[in-house]
Symmetry: C2
Subunit: 109 residues, 2 copies
């Protein structure tokens, strides 16, 4: 099933924020609790929770609560949506360049 | 030369806006003038110019003025920066999963 347009919107909106990309970079090394994500960041825990929620809603992060600790991990679905959108744009654009090149080489003969 | 951090920030900020992604989608089919980009959009020409400027500053679009017409085309550099960032995150994350799998299969023996 191709990703819905809304998913692409949510994923790129989420990736558009440097703090959220920093959180994702942190999580690529392995699951981390929200309080450990928050520790090095210059913001309130509530602000970090909001960023994580937005990442979760976009399919970029999964979270799981165990007792009082919420652990976050990468959700591969969101990155796949973004990678696919970029790959499709590049592919359309490159095919157009190939056709242009063919036209130019035909007209040069 | 690896992309500077600032470039990644600019590219993802640019891609985070649905109008700017729409403009990029339009340009993958070929170069288009700013006024033709603006025609189907529900916004002023000035607003479209601002979006295009931001896309240009991010390395996602190149523009060229000929007389009174400014033509926009895809700049592959920006999409490459975004694709590379995503690919690096996925690769780090997948390598971690592979190591985890190895550990689990070792401990199962």
């Amino acid at each position: 099933m191709p990703p819905r347009k809304a998913d692409v919107d949510r994923v790129f909106h989420a990736l558009g924020d440097p703090t959220r990309r920093l959180i994702l970079e942190r999580l690529t090394a392995g699951p981390v609790s929200i309080s450990r994500i928050a520790a090095p960041l210059q913001m309130t825990l509530a602000a970090v929770v909001q960023h994580v929620q937005l990442l979760e809603e976009s399919g970029l992060v999964q979270t799981e609560k165990s007792g009082r600790v919420r652990t976050c991990r990468i959700d591969p679905a969101g990155l796949a949506v973004a990678a696919q959108w970029i790959a499709n744009r590049r592919s359309t654009w490159e095919k157009r360049l190939d056709r242009l090149e063919d036209l130019l080489s035909d007209s040069g003969q």
